[in-house]
């Protein structure tokens, strides 16, 4: 059967809807020892800021049932080194569009690069986004306004609709690439935040970032993380993520990249059926480096088995239960 798995996100064509979640995949170099990055729809890079960040003290992570907490604190080498080293690596590694053809016999798009950006303040976001403006290898920008581990900025922007609209339009003005706003799930009404981002001019949404959580080491009677709280990710949060994607797909018109606990093709298909145009695999890559590939292959197998010729038939297709 000829099948089309390619999707369009904010005007950028992906060869398939599967990418890697920011911060769980570095810039891809380490994972490229385990599989060919050219199989992915896109690589989403670790959050980058205008200058290098130290991040939080250790312990930065701990395991929880079907998930983990992290408080990396957005350690990163800064946008300059990122451009010179990480984007260069991706340029060298990712092949150009090929004629090997999607179902329709068309062009098979190359693996795209989505650069995740963080900042302590509006100015820092703008500065970083401007420095990325001339980078041809940055196809899309994903703006993290929801990292729970940064005191200033970060989560504050992400939970207040007015703040979200403001930062979105400021970034939108400064950016040359399409802008995807990455939302925090730690809110009463995610659709309000999604609509604010859309109103601010966002080209797309990524959801969800991590749920704020805490673990206590009862033997030591101390927090398990030096930062006290951390972000919960992994299969544990998948039902919350699917719910939020579903809610927002009904509330906004811009495309949604769904993430949160995806480990299998079924998990990814849930997101897609809930309304996501594409998906990211995060924590599950820590359990098996090749998870994203297995998800791609599993979606392909599902489409084959169910005679779905175009993945887009599945986007938002969920219906009520009937006996």
């Amino acid at each position: 059967m000829t099948k089309n798995m390619s999707v369009d996100i904010c005007g950028v064509r992906l060869k398939n809807p599967v990418m890697t979640a920011s911060g769980t995949f570095g810039s891809g170099a380490e994972f490229s020892e385990f599989f060919d990055l050219n199989r992915l729809g896109a690589v989403v890079t670790k959050g980058v800021s205008s200058v290098p960040w130290e991040g939080n003290p250790t312990p930065r992570i701990c395991e929880t049932p079907s998930g983990m907490l992290n408080a990396i604190g957005l350690q990163n080498a800064g946008v300059e080194v990122f451009s010179k080293r990480d984007l260069r690596f991706l340029s060298d590694t990712l092949l150009p569009d090929s004629g090997a053809g999607a179902g329709s016999g068309g062009i098979l798009p190359s693996t795209k690069v989505i650069v995740n950006v963080c900042g302590h303040s509006e100015e820092e976001y703008i500065d970083c986004v401007e420095k990325l403006a001339s980078e041809r290898r940055a196809d899309l920008l994903e703006i993290n306004i929801s990292c729970p581990n940064v005191k200033e900025g970060g989560i504050a922007f992400g939970t207040d609709p007015k703040g979200v609209e403001r930062i979105t339009s400021a970034v939108r003005r400064a950016a040359r690439q399409p802008v995807i706003m990455k939302l925090s799930p730690n809110v009463t009404d995610i659709t309000e935040i999604a609509r604010a981002a859309e109103a601010g001019g966002a080209d797309g949404l990524s959801m969800i970032n991590t749920l704020t959580g805490m673990k206590i080491d009862v033997e030591r009677r101390s927090f398990a993380l030096a930062n006290r709280t951390g972000g919960l990710s992994g299969p544990a949060i998948h039902p919350v993520a699917v719910r939020m994607v579903y809610q927002c797909a009904g509330a906004v018109k811009i495309p949604i990249i769904g993430m949160g606990g995806i480990r299998t093709a079924e998990d990814a298909l849930e997101m897609i059926m809930a309304g996501a145009s594409a998906v990211s695999v995060g924590t599950a890559s820590f359990n098996d480096q090749r998870t994203a590939l297995a998800v791609i292959d599993g979606i392909d197998e599902y489409m084959e088995r169910h005679h779905v010729s175009d993945i887009r038939e599945l986007t938002g297709c969920v219906r009520d239960w009937e006996t």
């Binding site: 995949f25 380490e30 290098p52 250790t58 990396i72 080194v81 599950a284 820590f286």
Partner: protein, 256 residues
């Protein structure tokens, strides 16, 4: 080259209180593992997402056999302790840098292992001999394990004095007046801290194997950093990844 592979369990037996020795058929990894490197061991329980880093205790490249020795510290290691012959377990490795064997060539090397830090010193001893002049100091709480497997001269310290010098490894080094040109060590942070100081006093080189919680094990997630004295080239800050720049560091280069 790092491999992710299913390994077949050849045997798993207890060699001390809560200490287990696991032998695995893991051709690719065993074939390329160096002493001081580690492997990520994945749980068969789907609720446990993160790998458990375990040091290479012995690697028989020819027969493709890997030996891991671990202590039950929680649910993951408890699960591994129950592995039976023919069970399967998934591994990634070999990971990290390992001990700088070149630094030991034709010199007097002191291998120091404390508690569950002893296992990596075994393969290290085997690879260094007979070229280097190798001596091991092993510290235990009470019961000994693995000590008899070492191919070199072994000095024992026990906290309760039931064998060897009563006290810690440094007490034993001092009591035995052991001299060395270079130290390779693995064990609890307090021990490494003391060795770092001792090496500085003695003006000798000292490499230590560090521990930190890990998520990816391959350098991508920045979970596992330790503080470094100099700005690290990769991170551009004073953090080094234990899984990649380590787990073995020159003790003078990092904060312990």
């Amino acid at each position: 080259m790092k491999y992710t592979q299913k390994a077949k369990v050849l045997g798993c037996e207890t060699i001390g209180k809560n200490i287990y020795s696991l032998r695995l058929q893991a051709d690719d990894i065993a074939g390329s593992a160096a002493p001081g490197q580690f492997v990520s061991v994945y749980s068969n329980d789907s609720a446990r997402m993160l790998p458990r880093p375990i040091s290479v205790c012995e690697a028989d490249g020819e027969r493709g056999i890997l030996r891991l020795v671990f202590r039950i510290a929680g649910a993951g290691t408890e699960e591994f302790s129950k592995l039976r012959e023919d069970d399967e377990v998934r591994l990634t490795g070999p990971l990290g840098n390992g001990f700088p064997l070149g630094e030991a060539a034709r010199r007097r090397v002191l291998l120091v292992g404390g508690g569950i830090g002893i296992p990596p010193m075994l393969e290290t001893a085997k690879r260094l001999m007979p070229e280097a002049d190798v001596r091991a100091v092993l510290g235990f709480r009470d019961e000994l394990f693995l000590a008899e497997d070492f191919p070199c001269e072994v000095t024992i310290a026990t906290e309760d004095g039931s064998a060897g010098t009563k006290g810690n490894v440094l007490d034993a080094i001092r009591a035995q007046k052991i001299e060395a040109d270079v130290i390779f060590a693995c064990g609890p942070a307090v021990m490494l801290r003391a060795l770092k100081k001792y090496a500085l006093e003695q003006g000798i080189g000292c490499w230590v194997s560090m521990e930190e919680k890990m998520a990816c094990g391959i350098g991508a997630c920045l979970s596992c950093v330790c503080r470094s004295v100099q700005t690290d080239e990769h991170s551009q800050v004073k953090n080094k990844r234990v899984c990649t720049e380590g787990p073995v560091f020159r003790s003078a280069d990092i904060e312990i």
